[in-house]
């Protein structure tokens, strides 16, 4: 009897152990696959030609596989989106956490979670039919599908992440800080921006890092509004991101070709970017935990 129950206990333990470790296995699987399939093309093309080449022309002879345009476009696009999204997000978060009454707060929070829930292809569709023509007319350029349109769409898409994380950290600021400031004669609004916001700075930094991660990883909305030509980035020109470089050519790059392998290398570069951003995000999240 005792033996039987011990066997059961051990089996159950084994099953749960496997289930527990499965996330680790998945991360290893993804990393190993990306590294194995991404390295060969970089070797064959050459490190410098791949990372610093300005031309991407896999179908021309001789083929060219420079991904500098994609890297720079992704960096500029993400920076632009975060630059626009962060102030709007932070102001909204301060308003929600400190000033809004309960009804307005729940209303705006619903709006924010809806914004987070709208599928990226819907953002792409609306961007394609509303924003792109608008940009074309407003700046008098031949085609509105450009880096600018992508930045605007991305800045809307990063808003929910920035608002939610900032909001959580603003609400965790100890009440005594604010009360002290108010007692010394500062007005409420001054207190929110001079005391509460600096006190929540690790959380705000985490919010921005999360926004950067969202923006740099977005593919579908961006592919629909950015025009998708492999130009060096410029605000009013059609551009291609790291994500869209992978998604737009994967369907027709012939199996086993250098072209296809180069697309895997681009994915590897994107993955490395994401890992760096995740590390930054975790650093700030840990710091925030330490502060509270």
């Amino acid at each position: 009897m005792k033996n039987k129950s011990r066997i059961i206990e051990n089996t159950v333990y084994g099953i749960f152990l496997i289930l527990g470790l499965i996330t680790v296995a998945f991360v290893l699987l993804i990393s190993i696959y990306l590294i194995i399939s991404g390295i060969p093309a970089i070797k064959e093309i050459g490190f410098t030609d791949f990372f610093f080449g300005k031309n991407w022309a896999p179908t021309k002879t001789p083929q060219e596989f420079g991904i500098l345009p994609f890297i720079l476009t992704s960096i500029y696009g993400t920076a632009g989106a975060v630059l626009i999204g962060t102030p709007i997000g932070i102001f909204t978060a301060v308003y929600l956490s400190k000033m809004a009454n309960r009804r307005i707060k729940s209303l705006v929070s619903t709006a924010v979670s809806l914004l987070a829930g709208i599928p990226s292809v819907v953002y792409g569709l609306v961007g394609m039919l509303v924003l792109v023509p608008l940009v074309r007319v407003a700046f008098n350029i031949p085609d509105g599908a450009s880096l600018l349109s992508a930045i605007i769409v991305l800045s809307v898409m990063v808003l929910p992440s920035i608002i939610n994380v900032s909001l959580t950290s603003l609400e965790a600021v100890p009440k005594e800080y604010e009360e002290g400031s108010l007692a010394l004669g500062a007005k409420p609004v001054e207190t929110y921006f001079r005391i509460s916001l600096p006190a929540a700075k690790s959380g705000i930094a985490a919010a921005v890092a999360l926004g950067v991660g969202r923006a740099i990883g977005e593919a579908m909305a961006v592919i629909m509004v950015s025009g998708n030509v492999a130009n060096m980035p410029s605000l009013f020109q059609s551009v291609r991101f790291l994500t869209t470089a992978v998604s737009s050519e994967m369907a027709y790059a012939a199996g086993g070709s250098l072209h296809r392998q180069a697309l895997f290398s681009i994915a590897l570069v994107l993955f490395i970017f994401i890992m760096i951003i995740n590390a930054v995000l975790n650093f700030f999240l840990k710091k925030r935990k330490g502060e509270n």
Partner: protein
């Protein structure tokens, strides 16, 4: 005392206040605009024929029934697999794992998974499920890719709900001589339900909205299939179909119909998530 706030300070306060109101208003206006615009463009074009038939090149007509069914199949398949995996991982973390290094490794892995962009999932899914495991481009390969993506969500929500299990229950059961498995089965697992339901709703939302991870794993098929046949063949979900119709074929009317359906689904999912949250909270406080 009160009148002594200088002009400059008053001006700054007014500016900051205005910026706060403006930002909150912009956020809300964006949501309202997108929802109203998509519904206004999409709803008038919804016809019974469109949502109840499959596309036919011969008759030159489009139907989105296959896409709707594919979405349902893929949600079902992904959830059936991810729920036991995610809930099991959460039970392991809260009940079994003692080595802090192991716990940290698992939590780090979960965080990493939730930060990876869907296009990378799509690529690895294509390499691993479609090619290495031989599923080919199929809904099943797509569903398995979604399993990896949604694992952290289910894990997190289940973990949250397990934290609320009163310690006394477990200690009481152990004290009465129950084995670990018995305690988990009778006390811990029933408490998972909250977390699993919440995780389910969140995952359904994410799956409905997902497209980049499915492009190369589930593909673009528009055939009308039953669930088993459907899972083994290529199929476009609503989001992928929207992308194809809008970007490749310029069929904006159909694209907006799909977008309107997606928006309505998003609304329903959001409402159910908040209702579920409220319900579980009130039950717990009893």
């Amino acid at each position: 005392m009160l009148g002594k706030v200088s002009k400059k300070r008053r001006f700054n306060i007014a500016v900051l206040k205005a910026l706060m109101y403006l930002s909150a208003a912009v956020t809300c206006a964006l949501v309202v605009f997108i929802i109203v615009y998509v519904l206004a463009k999409g709803v008038p074009n919804i016809t019974w024929e469109l949502i109840s038939t499959k596309p036919s090149y011969l008759q030159n007509k489009i139907g989105i029934l296959p896409d709707i069914l594919n979405t349902v199949y893929i949600i079902f398949a992904a959830l059936v697999i991810v729920l036991p995996l995610g809930a099991g991982a959460a039970v392991y973390l809260t009940e079994y794992a003692k080595n802090p290094k192991v716990v940290r490794a698992i939590e780090f892995a979960a965080e990493t998974l939730s930060g990876i962009p869907s296009i990378i999932y799509g690529l690895v899914g294509m390499l691993f499920f479609c090619q290495f495991l031989g599923f080919g481009t199929s809904l099943m390969a797509g569903a398995l890719t979604l399993v990896i993506m949604n694992l952290p969500t289910i894990m997190r929500t289940t973990q949250e709900s397990l934290k609320t299990v009163p310690k006394g229950y477990k200690e009481g059961a152990f004290g009465l001589g129950a084995g670990k498995w018995r305690v988990i089965r009778t006390i811990v697992l029933p408490e998972c339900v909250d977390g699993i339901v919440t995780g389910c709703i969140l995952s359904v939302g994410r799956i409905v909205g997902e497209s980049a991870a499915l492009l190369f794993t589930a593909g673009f098929g528009h055939a009308l299939n039953g669930i088993f046949e459907g899972l083994s063949s290529s199929g476009a979900t609503l989001t992928v179909a929207l992308y194809v119709y809008a970007k490749e074929q310029g069929e904006f009317e159909v694209a907006f119909v799909i977008a309107a359906i997606l928006i309505v689904l998003t609304l329903i999912i959001n409402i159910s998530a908040s209702l579920a949250g409220k319900y579980f909270k009130s039950r717990r406080n009893k």
